[in-house]
Symmetry: C2
Subunit: 356 residues, 2 copies
Amino acid sequence: VPSRNRSATKPARASIVDVAARAGVSVATVSRALRQMPNVSPATRERVMRAAADLEYSASPLAAGLVTGRVRSVGVVSAYCGRWFFAEVVRGIEEELRQCGYDLVLHILPDHARREQFFGELPIRRRVDAVIVCALPLVRRELELLRTLETPLALVGMGVEGVHSECIDDAAASRLAVQHLINLGHERIAMIGGDEPGASSADRPPGEPVTVPALRAQGYFDSLAGAGLEAPPGWQPDGGFTVEGGEAAMSALLAQPGGPPTAVFCQSDEMAFGALRALRRSGLRCPEDVSIVGFDDHELAEHLDITTVGQSFADQGKAAVRWLMPALDGRPRPDEHSFHPFRLIPRGSTRSWPAR
Amino acid sequence: VPSRNRSATKPARASIVDVAARAGVSVATVSRALRQMPNVSPATRERVMRAAADLEYSASPLAAGLVTGRVRSVGVVSAYCGRWFFAEVVRGIEEELRQCGYDLVLHILPDHARREQFFGELPIRRRVDAVIVCALPLVRRELELLRTLETPLALVGMGVEGVHSECIDDAAASRLAVQHLINLGHERIAMIGGDEPGASSADRPPGEPVTVPALRAQGYFDSLAGAGLEAPPGWQPDGGFTVEGGEAAMSALLAQPGGPPTAVFCQSDEMAFGALRALRRSGLRCPEDVSIVGFDDHELAEHLDITTVGQSFADQGKAAVRWLMPALDGRPRPDEHSFHPFRLIPRGSTRSWPAR
């Protein structure tokens, strides 16, 4: 066996294979001996301990993973990177994982090609003990592929039937935001929505999980219907969840025949930033001419004085880790939709109508 | 050997240990056989291949790592998460690593406690093949600890003598920003700077690596000196690289005796956002009353119409990976400071003085 040739000299960095070769036992036996598990005779354990000491070997979590099936890593998969909310989720996940001694392995799928590649190859197989999917609107086929990993799975920032999730009730949160505008006297209320990358809600076949943009749109339509208000076609342009998209969508709204809306519900603060800019470029004022509500309480929303719906993404990320950990110790907890708190944060971008 | 008991039945997920047990050879031999390496007899190779096929085993990168010493992961260590520029760097690193088949393992050290814990325990030992440190102002002791990992090391967004780095020439970029204000006729130019978390420049003992804030301050002082302009004490408040800090620093500048500056160089766009808000709250206009220059070209800088210095953080992250990869294949390249391009992006927040 070639590896035995190495037992005579001390390698630069000893592995469990080196220890096994030096002790003349299998890698599995080394692992069992070092972890004080049964089925290892005192004499064998002694030989393994001496070999490990001779080689200055300390148990590597990866080597342990070969026997336990655990690698002490959790995969985080998201469509986004470079967005504020994503960084907040990752901050929460990383902090909690670290306390549990787990690594965070990151996979970003920003476009269709990366997404196809990821679900085709599943590079997280055998590389992670659990998976957290963050703001990636999964279709059923993708969900089934993740299930083949046979590792615990949690979603953050969105919910899918039959999968554990940490999120807010997006429909209810949107109803709150739109009701705020209705309570202020607005009757002409538009929405800037958007599909998440790689998953146009319109293109999703029936039976696919409902997306966050669809839930937020549902809350908007429900609130208007409840107040007997109209939601004219053309008043729900797509802003693609970007500042630029929000600016273009607001410009489109201002060009609608029949006059502009007096209030706009934006499905994200970034789109609200863009909408504000479109107003300014058109010589309109916020809130005197048009009220704006955003969503998420982005770190700059306060500084731009935007009324919004606040939620803690970091808390949702931490909660996902806390849910996963018992499952990794062989004590899985049932899947559930764990709803987190949200709140309306009234600021200067909304005002009663007609302006007093 | 206990693991041999498992060879009779097919385990839920076969590991290299199972294959070794079934073939009756060592783990090292399985690894060599599957990787078509020499020193394995045809008969043994055949037995291993059959055992692997029987168990539907596919070579795990972790198992390979036990023999090769490679785990196909790169650690990314940063003080920040939740900041725009950090997310950009990570996006670039992740994209490039993925193309090379490597995982990104994230470590965030936002405060002194996490930092002490990380450098005390070095949880990346044996868990990564290389390390990228991003915007974490290392002290020499920390650098020495990272060196004990004996893995390739690259820095992004900052430079340290004797370590490979991908960054811009921060002093030159700051000179450019301040020279822009001087060229516009400004003579009363303040700076909002700041120390990075956990590393007050003032507290750093002599001989420690120079930090990015210190380099940017040097550029500011150099430009003023070159134009024969004064840099009065009290005109370089600390904004801590946050929006709130920038707002507080600008408020402090406006309260200085002798009248406020006519232009302010902010060491980051986030601080410029805060400075703008302080001006607005004081009833002052930008650029009519005070010109503002930011730094980094944050995604919202264009929308807030802020003159700034642009650089590509994603490109710096990608370049770090491209530099590391040959080293991981045993062909290390020499350390160098690889300087990336930067450019002044003039926008509406700066104007000639006196205002015409």
